[in-house]
């Protein structure tokens, strides 16, 4: 499923990007080094950290998109950098868990082994 399709299905608001990145998984978390260490390429990343550093990490780690949760807004520098680097940004009113859960169901991801 592409980023645009996921956003449409989940009601995420588009901020930047073409909506054409293929999503393979999900990473949820706010600390940048955890994202760099544990997020996988082509993950949709759910976070509340809407600054330029999140965009830098999403670009370097090849995330499919970053979704800012809890109704928070990406700051202007983040949007500008995302436009420049081709990083796809979205927002949602949903909290991180609910947004991630909705996306996981929509993507039909298999539940993890307990």
């Amino acid at each position: 499923m592409t980023t645009g399709e996921l956003a449409a299905a989940c009601g995420f608001t588009h901020v930047t990007g073409d909506g054409d990145r293929e999503i393979e998984g999900i990473f949820t978390g706010d600390l940048l080094s955890w994202a760099m260490g544990r997020a996988k390429e082509a993950d949709a990343w759910f976070t509340v950290m809407g600054n330029v550093n999140t965009v830098a990490v999403a670009a370097l780690a090849d995330c499919a998109c970053a979704v800012l949760c809890h109704g928070a807004q990406w700051d202007a520098a983040a949007v500008q950098k995302a436009d420049m680097q081709g990083v796809e940004l979205y927002t949602t009113e949903l909290p991180e868990f609910e947004a991630s859960y909705l996306a996981a169901v929509t993507l039909e991801l298999a539940p993890p082994e307990p």
Binding site: W34, G37, E41, N53, T54, A77
Partner: protein, 142 residues
Amino acid sequence: MADDSIRLHYTVPGDDFTRAGEASADLKSRMKKLGLPPGAIRKVSIALYEGEINLAIHAHGGDIDVEITDDEVRMVLSDQGPGIADISLAMSEGWSTAPDEVRSLGFGAGMGLPNMKKYSDEFDIQSAVGVGTTVTMAVKTA
């Protein structure tokens, strides 16, 4: 062939976390243009970004020298910052002396050096208190 190697130099300013990331972004786009494997590009990008952040946050800035050869990308990050008293403690997951201001930006989880080691095929850190720190990382591209 050593003759074919590409050498790059970057300067990382101190205490500017928005500019930290310029070196890794630049190196990433160069590696892409060279057609190097995406997996290696990702490893280099993340390892170098963590290194840049450390130079900015912990060392008042520093220098990065990169050499791209036939089969690897080698990065040497050097600074004249405060140095690290206990390297094995600094290397452990979760250990951080980052100030609150840095944490509020999402950094300072104490995972930087472990990530740099994780994504490098070769990793070395030398440090002396009051003198500075040198980190060497190499990622295989072939």
